[in-house]
Amino acid sequence: MTQEDVFSTVVNTLKPYAKNQVALKNVCLTTHILEDLHVNSARLIDVVLLLEDAFEIEISDEDVDSVVTVGDTVRLIHANIG
């Protein structure tokens, strides 16, 4: 799976949760999930669960805490799927 494939799945997963639709349209690896996309912090865990299902992986709580940007998420998933 390419990094582009992972990026696309991450963005699609974030889509329903992003309150800032303008930022979502211009989303890139450096986009901040909370600050730019205005995703409710309580929903982050739901995004993580959906990504776990989508990629059939398990993301540790420590790793979740380290995620700030879309790029962080893509790299984390890429590392987990090997």
């Binding site: 329903p16 949760y17 309150k19 995703v39 929903r43 669960l49």
Partner: protein
Amino acid sequence: MSRRVVVTGLGVVAPTGNTVTDVELALRKGRSGLRRMDQLREHGFACQVAGVPQGVDELAAARFREDDLLAMNSNHRYAALAALDAWTDAGLVVPELGDDRVDWDSGAIVGTGIGGMDTIAEKVVPAVNGKRVRRLGGALVEQCMASGVSARVGGLLGLGNQVSSNSSACATGSEALVMGFERVRSGRATRMLCGGSEGGSHYTWAGFDSMRVLARGFNERPHKASRPLSASARGFVPGAGAGILMLEELEQALKRDAHIYAELAGGFLNSGGHRGGGSMTAPNAEAIRRCIRGALADSRVEPEEVDLVNGHLSGTRADVSEVRAWSDALGRGPDQFPILTATKSMIGHALGAAGGIESVASVLMLDRGFVHPCTNCEDLNPDLDPFGDSIIRETRNDVDLRVVAKAGFGFGDVNCCIVFKSCDPQNLILQGEF
């Protein structure tokens, strides 16, 4: 500081319709919103009839953002739809997404009786028992916590005054109105969205069915199942929905040129203390009488001024004692008794939402000049024969309503009574009284 409080907006999601217009039409026609529910049959309920709002998910999908919807169970959806309708009906504008302003003068008290039981039963319990706690996600707590409904409303509208949920079983919705009324009257808020909400779930109703307090014997005739005041009443019909009223300080309402449906003249809350015949599930009759008298005194309304009683009346054995309590409290025997109706005859008993929905009905009758029927009491309970002429069986359009008393009584031996008065804005300005 004591201010007058008026109703300037209505929002309702009910088994008979999801707009004020549809609900009013159903009330006028005496149309039932009760249906036989396959789910109740499949789960072995003795009562397989319920009153559940229809088409709500489609309405919610058109109104709310996707990520909000993911965290909104039926209770949240009913409350949010009714609250937004009450807000816009009052002539106020729902904030755009991204509007970061807080309205410090407006608040919400939206109660719930049993709340997110469906979420607990369908999601929390299976996941926890299956050792899948990690998979529960981030949207469960807000759907299970009692204050979730008011918090949801507050968030959608940017409310910065009191935002909380009360709970007093079947008196919840009415109690919220009295609480919000007191807040506006005291000057601590300019306007409050108040009422109740209750999700529709067989998990919520199962305990009542087991108690044998739900209507039995009418599964084949759902429209006949809710029978307040009837000799053949066999318990109440469970229901769901939300009813929310905008309570606003009079001067502000006049300044905004808002439509004033009615004045909320006063109300009273009390409990029978599980004494004098009262218990967790039965009312202390003296407490009910005191509650009614307290509401009248708070409203400065004389008992003989009450034109219409929209009772708690749920189709149980308590109906007879309730009518007697009204008669005693008002000091008006059968010959002088005000006219009497029961909204539950058409929508069933929406538990924590009942007081809100039925207050919407009460205010509509006052504002529009009609009285909806108490359906299904063609075989009046013989103990109530002396009051037979007071009970409205067919819609009346010829009644000059000035004062409507609405009551809600709940498990826990808790009581609430509200007094609504009609108003003529012209008189308000000219005379300062109505």
